[in-house]
Assembly symmetry: C2
Homo-oligomer: 197 residues x 2
């Protein structure tokens, strides 16, 4: 058996299952914690206990929060712009929130259509999206720019029908990006959607 006792070994094995950590970095992380028991290990243990109890999935939009409806759905100012942004995953919602999009609301699909992985329309939060759509002036599809993401965007556009205003995120050159490293698809999209300076 490795050093450290079963409690430490089990903690390492569980931490190693987090994305971005492997067995080696999990071991380093646990030792780092143990050396900083008061400043890091105890607060982390308490924070995890609190989060386990508190975390809920919002019944309206699918966001993760400590209340349901989540703080975004519960905020009446968030509805004022009439904009509903549809994302694949909670991490995309958080990424957009960091970009400060203003008073908008979200809808988390919980994935994308993927026939290869056996994920069909019934596996995503699509019915709730169709039910919410009439309350919003504009539905912004913010799927990833992958084949599955774009297929899902087309499916949703069809499903919402011609009376709903549906838009998608602009394609183009990322800020700080170099043309030389971009693919032809992005470049031709960026050229077609050029804007006047």
């Amino acid at each position: 058996m490795p050093s450290g006792g079963p409690e430490i070994e089990q903690l390492i094995q569980l931490l190693a299952r987090l994305p971005g950590l492997g067995p080696r970095s999990a071991r380093r992380a646990v030792l780092h914690m143990i050396k900083r028991k008061e400043q890091l290990m105890l607060p982390l243990s308490a924070a995890l206990d609190r989060a386990v109890v508190a975390v809920k999935t919002c019944q309206i939009c699918g966001n993760v929060d400590t209340v349901s409806p989540c703080s975004i759905c519960a905020d009446p100012r968030r509805g004022e712009s009439g904009m509903l942004i549809v994302v694949e995953d909670v991490s995309d919602l958080w990424a957009l929130e960091r970009a400060g999009p203003g008073q908008v609301r979200y809808h988390v699909l919980g994935g994308v259509l993927s026939p290869l992985d056996g994920i069909g329309p019934d596996d995503l939060n699509l019915d709730t999206l169709v039910a919410r759509a009439p309350d919003y002036a504009e539905i912004v599809l913010a799927m990833n720019a992958t084949v599955d993401g774009q297929t899902t965007a087309h499916y949703i556009t069809d499903r919402l029908g011609p009376d709903t205003k549906v838009t998608r995120l602009a394609h183009g050159v990322p800020i700080g990006g170099e043309l030389d490293y971009l693919d032809e698809g992005t470049l031709s999209q960026a050229l077609r959607a050029r804007t006047q300076i």
Copy 2:
């Protein structure tokens, strides 16, 4: 405030302080956990609670375990080889144990001499090492192959005196390398080819 509520935000901030994780990967890790609440988040929370209570520092060698004296110090067979391996840190002890060095004991210094960082002999577990040394036939210095590590090795050799058999790990440890990052093969080779100082 970012999405997710204060409990989730605090968990992200604490996880981001672990080595190998930053704010972005901590956020991904927390979302990963939340999605796998039953399989990962609850067991991790319980394991961390257990480890917080159980973890102790061995009063004899400085190892981290759930008992003190640690399982290595408490095992009588470990004393039979008469070999005491001196390491900087618990992570080095664990790295050596993975190399399977046989029935040896360890002494964790808790760092190295470093005048620049204001770390002198009194800041390390040196007095306890001098007290333990007469019980062992051979003291193996397994410091990192850094300037501070080798300085510390020289200091310990002087301190233990000419009557103690002091050896060091064979070169094979790359200069500037740290034990924790080495593969088991190199470590066991280096241990086998140790040379007298």
